[in-house]
């Protein structure tokens, strides 16, 4: 008797444990990430420097605290931000191909960055070191606002929003190409490197900004988790359950825009996470958004942390741009998941 009830409670417990496990994996990956590199420091040195920085030598302190730590934290922060943004986006647009990048946010950011890198066009009053990131953020947010306008104007039709997003991707990419065409060889190099996505731009202020934004946004996502789950059953149905579908979708779009604009502004284009983390999370947690949303964030964090480690280990002495590694390492995983499902 009551077998399904017991089964359901077991499932809830298993999911909670799985979240904890992922949290543990992220912590471990973070540590390994900090220890990976070519400084010749031993693990013991690094742990000692982490625990008591004032006793370490200045060089070690700088390497651990100003290079390794922000770098590793940024990998995790960008991963969780894009994981969460992608999960919400696939739900509100009811499209498994949606990700913060399908909507042209990263292309817009690249255009903003290219204007700064090639023509030195920036927002007045922004300090020198923040000009590129500032431009990227402003452009990403502008594209999100445009998307929002179109969404309101077209009555929030999900497929219309996706198509408009794709149109934006192509428009911004064309404009970036135009800027590249006009750029000097030196500026071109900088721009190409920017678009590859690299964690080496991480600094304490940028890592802090992203982590704070994530911490502020996650509770709002979780508050909408029942509503978002219900929207998976169909919009009409959700509306009939008393859910203001348009309002839920707009709120989610705002959260997604903020998270992905910040991420792309700080590290450039890392496109794969927002698409794949939600798929993996769906397999692991199902679509109850109380677990699926934090699950997707954690999966995103794990993937990018592992990719960060890989980017430093593949060719000792050389740190590959993490955007490249993410796709190369992530795609086999992704295909395995997709095809395993097809086989069943």
């Amino acid at each position: 008797m009551n077998e399904p009830l017991k089964a359901y409670r077991r499932i809830l417990l298993a999911r909670s444990l799985l979240l904890l496990l992922l949290l543990g994996v992220i912590g471990t990956a973070l540590l390994v990430d900090i220890m990976t590199g070519v400084s010749g420091l031993t693990s013991g040195d690094i742990v000692a420097t982490l625990l008591s920085p004032e006793e370490a030598s200045p060089v070690t302190r700088v390497i651990v605290w100003d290079v390794r730590l922000p770098y590793a934290l940024m990998a995790m922060a960008v991963g969780v931000a894009l994981g969460l943004a992608g999960a919400e986006m696939q739900t509100i647009l009811n499209n498994p191909l949606a990700s913060p990048f399908t909507l042209g946010l990263s292309s817009a950011a690249a255009l903003g960055a290219s204007l700064a890198l090639v023509f030195n066009i920036g927002i007045p009053g922004v300090p020198e070191s923040w000009v590129v990131a500032g431009n990227a953020f402003v452009f990403a947010m502008l594209s999100a606002l445009m998307l929002d306008l179109v969404a309101r104007w077209s009555g929030m039709n999900a497929s219309g929003v996706v198509l408009f997003g794709i149109a934006m991707v192509f428009s911004f990419n064309a404009l970036v190409s135009l800027v590249q065409f006009m750029a000097s060889a030196e500026a071109l190099q900088g721009l190409v490197f920017w678009t590859m996505g690299s964690l080496s731009r991480a600094t304490w202020p940028t890592v802090g900004a992203l982590l704070v934004a994530f911490a502020l946004i996650l509770p709002f996502s979780m508050r909408d988790s029942w509503r978002l789950t219900a929207m998976r059953l169909g919009e009409d149905r959700a509306a009939s359950f008393g859910i203001d579908v348009k309002r839920v979708r707009l709120a989610a779009l705002l959260r997604i825009s903020l998270l992905s604009a910040l991420a792309v502004a700080f590290v450039g284009t890392i496109g794969f996470i927002g698409l794949v983390a939600p798929h993996i999370a769906r397999r692991l947690f199902g679509e109850d958004h109380r677990f699926y949303l934090p699950g997707s964030a954690l999966v995103g964090g794990v993937i990018l942390s592992l990719a960060s480690i890989a980017s430093k280990s593949i060719q000792p002495g050389l740190t590959l741009p993490v955007g490249i590694v993410t796709s190369l390492v992530g795609i086999p995983f992704f295909l395995a998941i997709v095809f395993r499902r097809r086989m069943q």
Partner: protein, 261 residues
Amino acid sequence: MLQIRHLAVAYGRREVIADLSVGNLLPGTVTALLGPNGSGKSTLLKALAGLARTPRGSVTLDGEEILHASLERRARRLVYLPQSLPAAVHLRVFESILVAGHAGAPGSTQSRPDVTQVYALLQRLGIAHLAMRFLDELSGGQKQLVGLAQALIRKPRLLLLDEPLSALDLNYQFHVMDLLRQETAQHDLITVIVLHDVNIALRHTGHALLIRDGRLRADGAPGRVITPAALAAIYGVRGRIEHCSKGTPQVIIDGLCEALD
């Protein structure tokens, strides 16, 4: 009870529902909404659910105006099930019903169902064995029963269903209609369903509304309003009502009317 007075719905200039009034739809009765394609059945149902864009007139449920009420207020009194089955998502049946109960529940946790209520409902509908299955592995008929459970967990007073039988085989058609009648009677629901099959209306419902071109053409007991004359006027078909060896009335269609409008 449900009363509709001078209801009108227009899409742009095209009037889909015109000055439609229905006296009383009583609790405990399943009402069939019949009419040809494009007659305004689905629009009427949506208007009752408050999902039509610019409805005029008045719809009252137990004396309370619902046509212009807030989404939240309406959601507490009524549930509308669209024609589509619940989407094939990777949610367990049990979860999907829990979600339906939780999702629109405003603030208070009291109105939210707990897991035991969900389980009790599944047993009542005879689908407890599906509880842990995923929605994306159910058959159409099973999905429709789950859809019904998603509606009933909200304990509505008014239950609106748009063609709940359209994708179902004979067995599930009977199953769904039996459950609807049983739930409607036991819980004093006012149930309105859009139907295409006049025989099912005749056999399984207690009341029928016949609609054509957005106007109400007949309103009454199915056995009384489904007549050869009505079939000709509403559907443009030549039909007769025969009684089978068990005495059940049966609509037989012989062909199309010569001149359709």
